[in-house]
Symmetry: C2
Subunit: 558 residues, 2 copies
């Protein structure tokens, strides 16, 4: 079911070319390029986290291939907000050209800068804020405040002679956000009156009816849980969720407790957020983790990472009694977070472990301790009606989310032929007020694994899946180069198959016989002899064990 | 965090010994043994399905170890209902002793019989039904109708001189079930008045507040979806959910459509259910799959398996255009099922694939097309109040479910010391109206993989996880037995690591050097030389690639 690939025509004069490189058909690695008059503007440059069919992969990047011989044409990368799926691939892009200008809000760029420091890259940064304009030839950018699950998110209005584009980034429309910074619907209205030629809205929750509840609703729940807990309170959440942490700090302060931050990313991000004034730390509330042990149980809250059941994170280690803090009776653990699909089993293993230790565990399924960061269908309808866009390209979502968002656009009167269901690599030209798909690039997944980028291929992942499901059997035979006769072997070793290798004794004579026959008929090529070994043992394993491990035969001449 | 293992004392005369072998701390492989006066009765004998950390495993069995030298003492296996997590391990138990009597309702035993036929086992069956008693020395059994997501489920009351035990099996309390067969609360009341000494209730939904909605609520939703669909309708559900299929058949009939069953287990189970009268097939509704293609799109419903996104099942294959039925615009697919934790990504891949083909996909998250088969907290409270059990041992659930169920018992007045939080292998003796834990057996996971049972160990699974995450590097060196000098090699081959093996050229001289040094210092033992190879390449791979693949060194003498 792969989409036919075809080259786009040369970009016409006066037309704007929009190419999403990531984020369409997936939640992650958001990245879109805008080309006008030979110059390229990039919006976001994020990573995708691997699923279970991509074992061992650390991160997945957008495919930068279309940019590789255009690096000097890039005028800048605008970052809508500081989440990994929007900024995480920046270091890998800058490794191609280090001085590409990065443009974004203060918090976003502070988070990017910290990340780049780990990669030893010193970036060129331009801090902007809402209601500002930025002229970056031939693009004129205007920044619009939007509300999301991280502070300081921006929507980007992009003006070129081809028309006005509005790219929302991730957003929702909490009407009572903690920091008072609402999604600026007055600006949306003004842009709508000017005429939005192309609208690229966040689709994550487009298939969720109604409205995302306010973040403010969570504070009282956390406050109540803390006030009723006789022992320690441990709260786990995302390490960039400043407002969630804010509510924990406030609730702790109100209950006369101090807060210790746990986990490297939590400490780093909250230090940045506090330094920049996004996190308002109540007086005398934060305490260093090392000093927290001296504080009585009923006067401490630990704020940690690990809400997704990540095995090496603080919370999992606590559940396995592999951490200095050992939760028990009287303690409460709050998982103030979503359950990202695929993580449920890991999360419930942590919940069960903590429950078994005697702790009370409060999570999304038994209390209102999480709200989404994305606009639900009801909110998106407001956007469409206020903007009345001429063309819509839903972004940021799996296919069903893009589809649901396109339907919402159509429900508000956008013509079906003006709602574009694109994919990564779709090339969309905007000209004379009409956006249409004019090409489809062939883009791949770029896997980061250890220190390697793009070395691991889909074939390697297929090998890993086979190895992980079935293990392997290696067979080594040393033969005489001249006669083809076996000198040593077959030596058979297996992993992930059975308790010991003695099970393979039965097949050794068969392999020896097959090799003798091949040698007798004049075969000397070690590759051909390896294939003989593979067939012989493969058939035997399938029949006698009903398994299909990877067979790794090796015939060596000596 | 493993529980200390300790031997139980010899069973006292007049006491009943209860030992759960599976189902506690997990959802699956339910099995409990009851011992009195040297005889053993087993309730249920199910399988557990593997999670992602148990790759390649087909099924997980309860550990039969404690029964292996007691096989002749087993008087029978009572099966509460026909789900795999209650009957799936029966063939493996009967392989130990084929004539163990099986006792259960007509549908349950018909499903067991079909399963045993595939294993070429002819069982000894005793069909029973609700309100009947069965005397199986020294146990007197009474069967009580309970309502569940499969027809003909039974709770088991077990009488011995030690007292009265009630083992619910899986159940809920739908007050308007499709077949009119409600959970028999009158019988529960009568047993309660007699005095229930030990109660073993289903805990699956004990942490879900309120009441499970009636199965009857789903019919109108399915009917409406079918009536509004211009093209084909494809419904996927569990292949044993007779009442769900019943509602699809009825809705199809009401809309003038015929139904073709798809998937081996769906066809087999529904044939059994129809033969026994549990499935009431409306006249002229069922049609053979092969003839269904000739029926116009707006007159057909396909009823299939694959609702969990299983890659080889019908629905996944349709989503991948790898099936004769290719869903498209105008068609509707209904996933009338739960999303079992861990399956979400697979399920959503199927939903996205179908959406992309143009089909309308209706599922649990956007319509009321599924209800649970298990009693929620509200229903369990009714049970506790009507039964007033003296001792409670919650079964069938992860630890948090057992804990929630114990709390419900305590809320209705059961003393905390009379609610037992057991584990698999906990040995619980009931004597003089008091149940207490007297031992803890050391039980393991028994993995079925291909044709092998119990051959795959936890160490093998750890190997598989390493292989699946990181791949392996094999290094083969042939050395001269006398001098230790290298004759051939090192040959290095890797899978799941990188595109080609040339990356390892750099380390070959290091390996050769390390071996030469070892040989020079007199080392001749091939195992010791292998360890030298392992250390050398392992360190190099960690440092240069930042990975930790499995290293498989082999030094061969020739």
């Amino acid at each position: 079911m792969s989409t036919p690939v075809y080259d786009p025509p040369a970009l016409e004069k006066g037309a704007l070319r929009v190419t999403p490189l990531g984020g369409l058909g997936e939640v992650g690695r958001n990245m879109t390029t805008y080309e006008f008059d030979g110059k390229i503007l990039i919006v976001d440059c994020g990573v995708l986290f691997p699923e279970e069919h991509q074992p061992g992969v650390d991160l997945i990047l957008p495919d930068f291939e279309p940019l590789k011989n255009r690096l000097d044409d890039i005028v800048g990368v605008v970052l809508t907000h500081g989440h990994e799926d929007h900024i995480g691939a920046v270091p890998y892009l800058l490794k191609l050209r280090q001085d590409i200008p990065l443009i974004g809000s203060a918090l976003t760029l502070a988070l990017v800068e910290a990340k780049l420091k780990e990669h030893r890259i010193k970036p060129v940064l331009t801090v902007v804020k809402e209601e500002e304009e930025w002229d970056i030839e031939p693009f004129v950018l205007e920044f619009v405040a939007v509300n999301h699950s991280i502070p300081d998110a921006l929507a980007i209005a992009i003006r070129t002679p081809a028309g006005l584009v509005l790219h929302t980034g991730d957003f929702k429309m909490d009407q009572l956000p903690l920091d008072g910074r609402i999604t600026d619907l007055r600006a949306f209205a003004r842009l709508g009156e000017e005429g939005v030629d192309l609208f690229l809205p966040d689709s994550t929750n487009a298939d969720v009816p109604g409205f995302t509840p306010t973040e403010r609703a969570i504070g009282p729940v956390i406050d109540q849980v803390i006030s009723k807990t006789p022992g320690r309170v441990i709260v786990a959440s995302f390490s960039s969720h400043v407002h969630r942490v804010q509510q924990v700090l406030d609730a702790a302060a109100a209950n006369g407790r101090r807060v210790a931050l746990l986990g490297r990313s939590m400490v780093r991000n909250m230090t940045i957020a506090a330094d920049l004034g996004y996190l308002k730390v109540p007086d005398n509330v934060l305490v260093d983790y090392k000093k927290a042990k001296d504080i009585p149980d009923d006067q401490i809250v630990y704020m940690s990472t690990g809400s997704q059941g990540e095995p090496m994170a603080v919370l999992s280690r606590m559940a396995n009694l592999d951490h200095a803090i050992e939760p028990g009776a009287g303690d409460t653990v709050i998982l103030a977070s979503s359950q990202i699909p695929g993580n449920e089993n890991a999360i419930y293993r942590v919940i069960d472990g903590l429950t078994k230790l005697g702790a009370n565990v409060v999570h999304k399924s038994n209390a209102k301790v999480h709200v989404s960061g994305h606009a639900a269908a009801g909110e998106l309808l407001y956007c469409y009606n206020i903007l009345k866009p001429k063309n819509v390209l839903p972004v940021h979502g799996e296919y069903r989310h893009l589809m649901a968002n396109a339907k919402l656009a159509q429900d508000t009167g956008v013509a079906e032929e003006r709602t574009i269901l694109g994919e990564n690599g779709s090339v969309i030209d905007l000209k004379d007020g009409i956006a249409r798909v004019v090409g489809q690039l062939d883009l791949g997944f770029v896997y980061v694994d250890g220190s390697t980028v793009g070395e691991i291929t889909d074939a390697d992942l297929k090998d890993r899946r086979t190895l992980g499901e079935e293990g392997f059997v290696s067979v080594i035979v040393v033969v005489d180069a001249a006669t083809g006769r076996i000198i040593t072997g077959p030596e058979i070793h297996a992993r992930g198959i059975a308790e010991d290798d003695s099970v393979f004794e039965a097949v050794k004579p068969k392999i020896a016989k097959a090799l003798e026959e091949a040698a007798a008929s004049g075969v000397r090529d070690t590759h051909a002899l390896s294939q003989t070994v593979r067939r012989t043992i493969g058939r035997w394993v399938n029949q006698s064990l009903r398994r299909r491990p990877m067979i790794v035969p090796l015939v060596i001449e000596a």
